[in-house]
């Protein structure tokens, strides 16, 4: 069938197929994005790449274009050490210890932002 897209009509059928197995030479990398200097790098997603240099190239186009960005990290997913979900019970506590949950950290960002706004408006 003829396509409305001339590019599709130009494609020649592939004669030689290259065998490639899943994961061969390619790996997932986790991408961390920094909005401005001094901020934490925040995990935003992952890319597939044959090496770290290329993972960075792709990370920039995938995750660096839609918001401010000053820096990015990529880390081989395989290099991330993690707990097993089966062990999630280690995070449970026997008695209520809500008093030590770190709500303060979230509030701190808000307080800092408010203080900054106040100084700027002066």
């Amino acid at each position: 069938m003829k396509s409305f897209d001339p590019r599709v009509n130009r494609i020649k059928p592939i004669e030689e197929k290259t065998e490639m197995n899943i994961g061969e030479a390619w790996e997932p990398y986790e991408v961390f994005h920094q909005k401005k200097r001094g901020d934490h790098h925040i995990h935003v997603g992952s890319v597939h790449a044959p090496n770290a240099a290329q993972a960075l190239l792709f990370a920039k186009e995938q995750y660096g274009r839609r918001q401010n960005c000053v820096n990015m990290w990529v880390v081989r997913t395989a290099d991330v050490t993690q707990f097993q979900y089966d062990d999630a019970d280690i995070f449970e506590t026997a008695i209520d210890k809500e008093y030590r949950e770190a709500y303060g950290f979230k509030v701190r960002d808000k307080i800092n932002a408010y203080k900054k706004q106040q100084t700027e408006s002066k």
Partner: protein, 250 residues
């Protein structure tokens, strides 16, 4: 604006516009998703640069569109290199590598242009161009040092591209005037800088540089003589515009 300056900006814009269109043809057909997005995005950057340069020739946005979509083939001043079909990915990557290094160096030189609007754009384009060559270099090094097939493909792409790439530096009408007015130091200077820049990368990629003395530049574009590929490209690019010639926007 003098005819020489007009010509200089026009041919620079035409190169970016036509190559941007060519590279955009990969959109949706790239070798893998991440690269598809990166290549499409860089093509969009190129068209953006062309758009700003066309507008420099005439403030009026409609005039820029006329330049892009309604001009006769012989009035285009792009080189044959950017007109070539996308071919296979080895060719498109090699063209991207060779053209974008010249493009980046051109704007680096233009940062000191006596024509202030060009110096201004040169600074504005800097970051995008840096990414383009970073992307190109990474691929050339990766594939040049890859396996036997990737190396052979990159080498034959390089051999095929070089005479065409030399066409980037073809002398154009009014060049002496551009040089003497300190608008741009000239294509010859650019070509030397370009060779200096690409040679070590080609070497690191394990590729052989052909003897430059034996290469014949593919010229003509700067004087309106084009390859057989430009006219069909223009026709395809203008399909919508031609179907609705009176439309104000589409």
């Amino acid at each position: 604006m003098t005819p020489a300056l007009y010509n200089f900006i026009l041919k620079t814009a035409d190169d970016c516009f036509i190559l941007g269109h060519r590279n955009s043809e990969w959109t949706g057909f790239g070798p893998f998703m991440e690269e598809d997005i990166a290549f499409a995005s860089m093509a969009q950057d190129k068209i953006g640069h062309a758009w700003l340069l066309y507008k420099m020739l005439d403030e009026n946005a409609a005039a820029a569109e006329t330049l892009a979509f309604k001009r006769a083939e012989k009035d285009f001043k792009c080189c044959h290199f950017v007109e070539q079909p996308i071919g296979e990915y080895d060719f498109s990557l090699m063209r991207h590598f060779l053209f974008d290094h010249a493009d980046q160096l051109r704007y680096e030189m233009l940062m000191n242009s006596s024509f202030e609007p060009l110096a201004h754009f040169a600074k504005k384009f800097k970051g995008e161009l840096k990414y383009h060559t970073m992307h190109a270099d990474t691929f050339i090094l990766q594939l040049g040092n890859g396996n036997e097939e990737s190396k052979a493909r990159m080498q034959s792409a390089l051999n095929f591209c070089l005479p065409l790439a030399l066409g980037i530096f073809e002398v154009y009408e009014g060049e002496q005037e551009i040089i003497s007015q300190n608008i741009f130091a000239g294509e010859k200077v650019l070509q030397e800088k370009w060779l200096e820049k690409i040679l070590p990368i080609i070497k690191d990629a394990g590729l052989q540089m052909p003897d430059m003395a034996t290469l014949q530049a593919v010229n003509g574009g700067r004087h309106g003589f084009h390859s057989d590929y430009l006219q069909p490209l223009l026709k395809e690019m203008r399909e919508v515009v031609d179907a609705f010639p009176d439309a104000i926007e589409w």
